[in-house]
Subunit: 516 residues, 2 copies
């Protein structure tokens, strides 16, 4: 059926000053003739059109002419902006058909394999905003459960890559790094990028914000600098500084991935196949040719068993090879948080201590960052295998990494934010004397989130002891910071019975650490 | 954390005249101090409380004081009604925590079996309105994909049964019937109920509205009578007439099922385990002790293979036995629509023709209804096995079924609606001469839906030929009725290339029909 045939009585467009975030909402008065004639249902999806443009929106029916009158069609703020037509413009309204590609989602629910064409249709409909949050949830769960096979992951990666802009840096070697996450405080990117960029290698890093963690690289970098860079400014600064630490969302690189993440986040779901497709499509879209992947393994990490880490690495390699990405995956120690701080401001403090060669700097964050930076530097054909680490260390110790970081911060737009942790704090104490033999990453991440991280930037957890430390009963294990009383209470309540630390004897620690 | 601790600055409650249907929406002004202090995100779920009551709602941020002012908290119409506090009442607002039972949903996504406690926690949170549509979609897909095992179906059935009111008729035999659906025009309930009730057996039938079909029993009955009966009136009329044909939604029997259906419908998903749990929990809640299930099988029915029908029957029997329901399942011919009309008004015409013993009455609808009614009558310990059919036929032929139906209609509240099909119509013609050898249930249901059924009651399809009929090229196969031009166009366009009929030779029909 053509658009002409679906044209209905015209209504006058109006902006309704309601912020509905990613969801387009349309408002029609209950007495509106179009609403009455069409038998629309409340919460139905409708299609608003004019001048060949179309937007789909969820219908809210209004009984107050202050919001919309019977001859008007209201759009919520973001929908009105997206539609980009003036108020008063005559628009057509019709029932939106459910996206055809939902048929593929239903087949996936039924247990079928989907092919490239299916994934292409789905990601294209998602990119056009034709999927409701409910439909995206159905897609995520259907493809998450029992995993996608590796060719489906490849198809999904390619399909997601097609929906956004793809950057081309016109250089033979564009490096990138990515950690699959799950380890609080693991802010190596803020060290790896300036080291690698100072070596002269191109590393235009785009990151996401936290999904289920207390801080993503973008959340932490935002304490120091703006990360929401337009594609043109990103391009200019990367060519000048050889590196950046930007938020991937505004660069329009993988819009579908961002939309799916906005559903994954509140649902708290995360699957291997989606993770691989999400990461690789984003890295390819950002123009990467060489990618170093960090896969932490540990009893409370995202990947718990070495064999799972190996199979994830194989999946990354399988898809990476077929999409033309030079990919190396390193499996790292994920048995405890990296560094001391968890939460944006506290993590920035750790990063700056390492860059400033402060003797107080957390050794594990410094060593891991040097190791990863060294591996990336060895992508350079002029660097002899095994020499990357010492090059990285020289760059850090000479202060060139710090200088590079300051230039990147200035180029992105230095933030004039306070760098102090939240004013409300409490300590969590050791319940016995002995050695710290286990630290629960998930528990500490959750504590930092309850304390308000990442939205509340000064909130988080500061670790005073790590694995292998001897502690006395009643000694503080970590300090929790919050900015708002409600967050303080949440975190305080959460840590009242458990601490997330296990204190035992040295033997039990040694057993845990044989793998690394 | 107690409610006291989460209390925030109080806002004044206000109704916002926006109809958001099943979704509670809260409106806060962008300049509201609570919004600013708490760092709420748009579309976040918040919890509004006062006087020990709580309601959760999705936050929309408003930039117009005509909608809500900075010291107000707006609730959409239904949310305001549900909360049932006066405008101006001071309310507290806090971030809503995601429902704890989502942990079970995530474990199900990960491939785990869930136990009774998990399902109980999930259905209880859904019943309290704590699941967003996105979270319900995740639950439906997670439990739909690859099915639930039979003990999980049993757990889910019991858990759903617990969330609503359960009727108790205080009689040893309370009959019910249910068809799993998928066959357009299959309105046997409107015949079975008056026949069985005229026999004197209690049959308080509650039905759902159409999910993916062009009419549910409730949609069709609504042409004749009100179906939205309060529990008290339902009770009174059932005791008087021995039967009813009510909509299950307003009886508060299985609120969770209704909420899940409101998500299944737009997603178009439907799984065996969910179907069994949904049907059996609803029938038990309605107080049934004896249930006859109709499982139609055919190439375009919901169940396509005899072996699938058998396994579905076993699943019904397994769960039915363990929840104390006397259950019989009959597998019926689902190779074509039943009767002639598809859509509320057209189906009512067929039903009334059968009740009135009109010689024009569709034979298949009459025979199937007598067969089902006969089986239910045989639940009566005083009826000899094999005599049910002839008792049912006597009741129908004597006019006692019609008289009973008229009394039920009057008791429920006779509708003064017009019984005419829509004024816009067109015929779909045979593209060759031969015998009708296949009719696509799904295609005809979709045609009727595009024509406007069930919301547009006079819309639908009227079959002029059925399987086995000889037709000439150019002869009409069926007539499509619509009430609105847009629907007419949709249905016309849909049937332009295909008719949903296959015309061939007599042999191919005979092959299809060996099973019944």
């Amino acid at each position: 059926m053509s658009d002409e045939e679906s044209i209905k009585t015209r209504l006058k467009l109006r902006a309704v000053a309601v912020d509905t975030y990613r969801e387009n909402v349309a408002y029609m008065h209950r007495e509106c003739s179009v609403y009455r004639a069409e038998g629309f249902q409340a919460l139905a999806k409708i299609r608003v059109g004019c001048n060949g443009k179309q937007i789909e929106a969820v219908l809210n029916v209004v009984d107050d002419i202050c919001i919309v009158g019977p001859d008007e069609l209201g759009l919520s703020e973001q929908a009105f902006q997206r539609f980009a037509e003036p108020a008063g413009q005559p628009v057509n309204v019709a029932q939106a058909e459910p996206p055809l590609s939902m048929d593929g989602v239903r087949r996936k629910i039924g247990g079928e394999r989907l092919d490239y064409g299916d994934y292409q249709a789905i990601t294209s409909d998602i990119a056009k905003g034709r999927y409701s949050k409910m439909e995206m949830a159905a897609f995520l769960v259907a493809t998450g459960q029992n995993g996608l096979d590796r060719d489906e992951v490849l198809s999904l990666t390619r399909a997601m890559l097609e929906t956004g802009v793809r950057l081309n840096w016109n250089e033979p070697l564009v490096a990138d790094k990515h950690c699959i996450g799950g380890i609080p405080g693991n802010r190596t990117s803020l060290l790896v990028v300036p080291i690698v960029a100072a070596h002269g290698m191109l590393i235009p890093k785009t990151s996401s914000r936290a999904i289920t963690s207390p801080a993503g690289t973008a959340d932490t970098m935002e304490v120091l600098a703006r990360t929401d860079l337009a594609p043109e400014s990103l391009d200019r600064l990367v060519r000048m500084e050889r590196g950046c630490l930007a938020w991937g969302g505004t660069t329009r690189l993988a819009p579908v991935d961002d939309m799916l993440i906005s559903v994954e986040r509140p649902l708290g779901i995360d699957s291997q196949g989606q993770m691989v497709a999400s990461i690789l499509s984003k890295k390819l879209a950002a123009g990467a040719t060489h990618l170093l992947l960090d896969i932490p393994v540990g009893p409370t990490a995202k990947v718990r068993q070495m064999r799972d880490a190996m199979s994830l690495r194989k999946l990354f390699e399988y898809v990476g090879d077929r999409v033309g990405l030079h990919l190396e995956a390193v499996i790292t120690d994920g048995s405890q948080p990296i560094g001391r701080g968890i939460g944006p401001v506290l993590e920035v403090r750790d990063v700056m201590q390492v860059l400033e060669n402060d003797p107080q700097a957390p050794v594990d964050l410094r060593e891991k960052s040097l190791r990863l930076a060294g591996r990336i530097i060895e992508f350079d054909p002029d660097v002899r295998g095994g020499f990357g680490y010492s090059i990285a260390r020289d760059i850090l110790e000479s202060g060139r990494a710090l200088a590079k970081m300051q230039r990147i911060i200035d180029a992105q737009g230095r933030q004039e934010l306070q760098l102090e942790p939240g004013r409300l704090c409490f300590d969590v104490l050791a319940d016995r004397t002995g050695m710290v033999v286990a630290i629960d990453n998930f528990f500490l991440a959750q504590t930092a989130r309850l304390a308000g991280a990442p939205i509340s930037r000064g909130a988080g957890v500061d670790l005073l002891h790590k694995l292998g430390d001897m502690v006395e009963e009643g000694q503080p294990l970590y300090r929790v910071y919050a900015e708002f009383p409600a967050n303080f209470e949440f975190a305080h309540e959460f840590t009242r019975v458990r601490s997330g630390y296990r204190i035992g004897d040295a033997q039990s620690l040694r057993r845990l650490h044989t793998e690394f």
